[in-house]
C-alpha cells in the first residue's frame, strides 16, 4: 500500500438501494480539505457520475452527512485530518436511510417521522396578536433552547441502532424536536405531542444507546430530550389512571 502523503486513498460507495460496492480513488491531499472537498474532487476530476448532496458548505443545512470511516458525520465541516486512518478514508451513504444513488440518500422517512412526532409548532396565537413575552431564563425555555439548533442533518438518526432495528421508531431528532416544542410556552399542542410520542414508534423504544448525542455535530443531546419525553409521558400516564 502506498504511503504517499501527497495523495489520499479514498474508497467511495457506488450504487443504489439494491446493490453497490466500494470503489477506490486517489485524491491529492491539501492543507485545508474537508471530506466534502474530497468527494467533489472525485466528481469533478475522476468520475463525473458520482452523486452526493450538499448545499450550504458551512454546517448549517444538514444535507451533506455521510458515513465516514463507518461513523456518521457532516462532511462539509469534517477536516480530512480528523477522519483519516493510515492515510485512508472510506465514504458511504448515511446509514438507516434508503439510498438514491451513491452517497445521496432519500431523507423523506426522516422527515415523515419528524411530522409524525408532531414536530411542528401548534399555534396558540395569530399574526394579529402581540409577540409573547418570554423570560429567557425560564426553566422550560432553557430546556427548549437546548435542542433548538438542530439542523436536521440525520447524523443521529444514522447512528442509532434502534432506528436500524425498528422501522417505526421515530428516532432521536424527531423526538428531540417534540421535546423542544413540549417545553415551548407558545405551543398549544402539548397533549398531542405526548400522544404522538407514546405510540409504537415512540420515545419508549429508545434504549439510551447515546450514539445520537455522541455524534451530533452540534453537540446537542437528543438522549436527554428523549429522557425528558419519557418522564413527561410517565407522569401523564399516572395522572391519567389515578
Amino acid at each position: 500500500m502506498s504511503s504517499d502523503p501527497d495523495e489520499l486513498e479514498v474508497s467511495v460507495w457506488r450504487g443504489d438501494n439494491t446493490s453497490g460496492q466500494f470503489e477506490d480513488f486517489r485524491v491529492p491531499a491539501q492543507e485545508n480539505q474537508t471530506i466534502l472537498d474530497v468527494v467533489s474532487w472525485i466528481q469533478q476530476h475522476r468520475d463525473p457520475t458520482l452523486s452526493y448532496r450538499y448545499a450550504c458548505r458551512v454546517g448549517m443545512c444538514g444535507s451533506c452527512a455521510m458515513m465516514v470511516n463507518g461513523v456518521p458525520r457532516w462532511t462539509c465541516r469534517t477536516h480530512v485530518k480528523v477522519a483519516l486512518k493510515d492515510n485512508r478514508v472510506s465514504i458511504g451513504p448515511l446509514r438507516n436511510l434508503p439510498v438514491i444513488k451513491d452517497l445521496a440518500t432519500d431523507m423523506d422517512p426522516f422527515f415523515d417521522k419528524w411530522v409524525t412526532a408532531e414536530g411542528m409548532h401548534h399555534p396558540s396565537k395569530t399574526r394579529d396578536d402581540a409577540i409573547e413575552q418570554i423570560d429567557p431564563e425560564d426553566g422550560a425555555r432553557l430546556e427548549a433552547n437546548k435542542g433548538i439548533e438542530c439542523i436536521n442533518c440525520s447524523v443521529c438518526y444514522a447512528a442509532c441502532d434502534t432506528v436500524a432495528g425498528n422501522d417505526d421508531y421515530l428516532g432521536p431528532a424527531a423526538l428531540q424536536r417534540a421535546w423542544t416544542l413540549y417545553n415551548d410556552a407558545k405551543d398549544a399542542g402539548k397533549q398531542t405531542i405526548l400522544e404522538a410520542v407514546s405510540g409504537t414508534g415512540g420515545c419508549h423504544n429508545c434504549h439510551s444507546q447515546g450514539s445520537c448525542s455522541h455524534y451530533c455535530p452540534n453537540d446537542l443531546n437528543p438522549m436527554a430530550a428523549i429522557a425528558g419525553l419519557k418522564r413527561a409521558t410517565a407522569l401523564s400516564f399516572f395522572k391519567g389512571r389515578k
Partner: protein, 588 residues
C-alpha cells in the same frame, strides 16, 4: 425539433419554485387564501428547506417594533442605504409588512427569537441602521426560520417535488401568460412539465459567478436566467453586494468564500494587510467599522496593491480582544474556522471580499405580479426593494414578506382563472433541446470553465469596475460561453448526474454574468454596491435612474429608467421634525 413526447406531464393549480423564505411563505399563504381544494405544488432544486440562502442567514431580520423605532425610520434607512434607487412603494411595503410577518413567524410558524431579560424581543443594529432593529436567534437566525417553515410545509397537504430543477418558464403560444414550468427530475434525469394557473418564482439570487461567494451550492441564478429567456425585464442587474470578510482557504476547498460574520468587525476585529499592518483607516474614517461596500473596496484596493496575505487576501485578527473572550462571544465562528484548520481566537485568518447578495431582479409590482400573466416573483429574484444596496437584515425580511404577499395574491387571483393554459410547444421543445445540448457532445471539464468565469467576473466585473474592464469581461464571458456550448457531459446515466447540472448551472451563470456586465456599463456613476473607477461620482440623487435589461432575440439590451420618488424626495425625510438622526447608542 426535439420530440417532447418523452416529457412527463403533470398539472397543478399553484406552482411554487424554491423553498427559501419566499417559496415557503408563498406556499403557506396560498394555502390559506386559495379556495378549498386548490392544488398547491412546491418544487425545489434540492431538499425542502435544506437548500437556498435563507437557511444561511446569520445576522437576522429587520423590523421596526417600537421603542422609538418606526416603520418610517426603517423605510428611510432602506432608501438611504439603497442610495435612492429603491422602488419606494416596494420598500415601504417591505418595512410595513415585516411587522406583521415577524408576528406570524413567532406566533404561527413557531420561531423563537432571542429575548431581552424582560421577555421582549432582542434587537440589535447592523451597519447602516439608525435603530436597534434586527431580530435574531443567536447568529443562526436562518436555521430557525427555515426549519420552522419547513415543518409547517411538510405537515400540510402541499405536493412536494424535491430535487426538481426548473429549467424553463414556458409561456402560452401568444406569449402573454405563463402555461407552466419545465423541470428536470434530478433523481431520475427525466424531464417533467408542470402546468399551473399561477406560478411563483422564488429561486433566490446567489451571485456564484464570482471567484469568492457566500451563497449555498444550489444557487446559480437559474431564476433570472429563465426570466431573461422568457423576455421579462430585469432591473438593477449591476448591483452585486460583496461581503467584506469571506474565509480564504485556497481554491480547492468549498470553505473558501463562506462568511465570517459582520459582528467580528463590529466587536473590534482588525483587518491587516500582508505586512500585518492595519489599513482600513487609509480608506475610511470608520476603519473596519465602515459599511460593507466601503470595507470590501478597501480590502480589494489593498489586494490590488499587492499588499496581500499568503493566499492573496488580507488577515482578520481578533487576538487583541483576548482569545478566551473571542472564543466565548463568537463560538460558532471560532469552531467553524477551527474545523478548517484556522485559529480565529488567537491567530490570523485570511479573508477576502466575497459575493453575497444580488440586488437586481425581475421587475415586479408591489403585489409580486410580473409582465407575464400568471407569473409572480418574490424574494431575491425580484428587483426593486433594495435599490443599489441591501441593508443587512433586509434580505430575509424581503423574501418572507413578499413570499407571503405572492401567496395571498395568487390564492385570490386564481379564483378568476378557470382553466390551465396550454404551453407553446416550440418553446418547450427548445428548452428541452437546450438542456440536452451537452449530452450529445464529447465530455469535457465544466469545472475548469466555471473557474474561468469566476476569475473573469472577479477581475473585470467585480468590486471595482471600469469600462475597459467590463468590456474585456464581456469578451471573456462570450468565449467561455461558446466553449461551454462545445463541452459535453457523459450521458450514459442521467440519474442524479451532478455534472450535467454543473453544466446547466454554468449556462445560467454565463447568461446572467453577461447582463451584470452590460448593466454595469450602462450605469455611468457609482452608487451603493456598484463602483466605477472611471465614474467615481454618484451623480445627483434627483436624477437617479435604474437600469432595465431585456433579452430580445439573442441580444441583451439595457436601458435606463428614472426613479420615481413616490413617497419621499432626495434631501427630504418622512420622519417627524426633531427626530434624532440615529437611535443607536454606539453611533451617537
Amino acid at each position: 425539433m426535439i420530440s417532447t413526447g418523452s416529457i412527463e406531464r403533470h398539472d397543478t393549480d399553484i406552482l411554487i419554485l424554491g423553498t427559501g423564505g419566499a417559496g415557503m411563505f408563498a406556499a403557506l399563504h396560498a394555502q390559506q387564501s386559495a379556495a378549498p381544494g386548490t392544488k398547491i405544488t412546491i418544487a425545489v432544486k434540492g431538499l425542502i428547506g435544506k437548500c437556498g440562502c435563507t437557511r444561511m442567514v446569520q445576522g437576522g431580520y429587520n423590523v421596526a417594533l417600537g421603542g422609538g423605532d418606526t416603520v418610517e425610520r426603517h423605510f428611510m434607512d432602506t432608501i438611504n442605504g439603497g442610495k435612492w434607487l429603491p422602488d419606494q412603494d416596494m420598500a415601504w411595503k417591505l418595512c410595513e409588512q415585516a411587522v406583521v410577518r415577524i408576528r406570524e413567524l413567532e406566533n404561527e410558524i413557531g420561531c423563537f427569537f432571542d429575548r431581552n431579560a424582560d421577555g421582549s424581543l432582542h434587537q440589535k443594529a447592523f451597519a447602516g441602521q439608525t435603530a436597534d432593529r434586527t431580530v435574531h436567534k443567536g447568529d443562526l437566525t436562518g436555521i430557525e426560520i427555515i426549519s420552522r417553515l419547513m415543518e409547517q410545509v411538510l405537515s400540510r397537504p402541499i405536493e412536494k417535488l424535491q430535487e426538481h430543477r426548473a429549467i424553463g418558464l414556458i409561456p402560452t403560444k401568444d406569449g402573454s401568460a405563463i402555461a407552466g414550468v419545465l423541470f428536470i427530475d434530478m433523481r431520475s434525469g427525466k424531464f417533467r412539465f408542470v402546468r399551473a394557473k399561477a406560478v411563483m418564482m422564488g429561486t433566490g439570487g446567489g451571485p456564484t459567478m464570482y471567484k469568492y461567494h457566500t451563497p449555498s451550492g444550489d444557487k446559480t441564478m437559474d431564476g433570472l436566467a429563465m426570466a431573461l429567456r422568457v423576455g421579462l425585464p430585469l432591473r438593477d442587474m449591476e448591483m452585486v453586494q460583496f461581503h467584506p470578510t469571506g474565509l480564504l482557504a485556497g481554491d480547492h476547498t468549498k470553505m473558501t468564500g463562506t462568511v465570517l460574520e459582520e459582528g467580528l468587525r463590529g466587536a473590534g476585529g482588525r483587518l491587516l494587510n500582508g505586512a500585518e499592518k492595519r489599513f482600513m483607516f487609509d480608506y475610511d474614517d470608520l476603519g473596519e467599522r465602515a459599511t460593507r461596500d466601503l470595507v470590501s473596496r478597501g480590502i480589494y484596493a489593498e489586494m490590488r496593491k499587492n499588499n496581500s496575505s499568503k493566499n492573496g487576501g488580507v488577515y482578520i485578527s481578533m487576538g487583541h480582544l483576548g482569545p478566551d473572550n473571542v472564543r466565548k462571544k463568537f463560538k460558532g465562528m471560532v469552531q467553524r474556522c477551527e474545523d478548517s484548520g484556522f485559529d480565529l481566537a488567537a491567530g490570523l485568518v485570511e479573508v477576502v471580499p466575497t459575493a453575497h447578495y444580488f440586488m437586481g431582479g425581475v421587475v415586479v409590482d408591489t403585489d409580486t405580479r410580473t409582465a407575464l400573466e400568471g407569473l409572480y416573483v418574490a424574494g431575491e429574484d425580484a428587483g426593486g426593494a433594495h435599490g443599489s444596496n441591501r441593508l443587512g437584515g433586509n434580505g430575509v425580511a424581503n423574501s418572507t414578506v413578499y413570499g407571503g404577499v405572492a401567496g395571498d395574491v395568487m390564492g385570490a387571483d386564481i379564483k378568476a382563472m378557470s382553466a390551465l393554459r396550454d404551453p407553446d410547444e416550440t418553446v418547450l421543445a427548445a428548452e428541452v433541446e437546450r438542456a440536452q445540448l451537452p449530452l450529445s457532445k464529447s465530455a469535457g471539464n465544466v469545472q475548469r470553465l466555471r473557474h474561468e468565469l469566476q476569475e473573469a467576473m472577479w477581475d473585470d466585473v467585480g468590486v471595482l469596475r471600469t469600462a475597459t474592464g467590463m468590456k474585456r469581461g464581456l469578451g471573456r464571458i462570450a468565449e467561455i460561453r461558446s466553449e461551454l456550448a462545445e463541452t459535453g457531459v457523459a450521458s450514459d446515466n442521467l440519474a442524479f448526474n451532478l455534472t450535467w447540472h454543473d453544466w446547466l448551472n454554468m449556462a445560467s451563470l454565463c447568461d446572467v454574468s453577461e447582463v451584470i456586465a452590460k448593466a454595469g456599463l450602462a450605469r455611468e456613476n457609482s452608487r451603493g454596491a456598484h463602483y466605477r473607477e472611471d465614474f467615481p461620482d454618484s451623480g445627483t440623487m434627483e436624477s437617479s435612474y435604474f437600469t432595465v435589461a431585456r433579452k430580445q432575440g439573442n441580444k441583451v439590451d439595457v436601458s435606463r429608467e428614472a426613479v420615481q420618488f413616490t413617497i419621499v424626495r432626495p434631501g427630504e425625510t418622512i420622519l417627524p421634525e426633531g427626530e434624532p438622526e440615529t437611535l443607536v447608542e454606539a453611533a451617537q
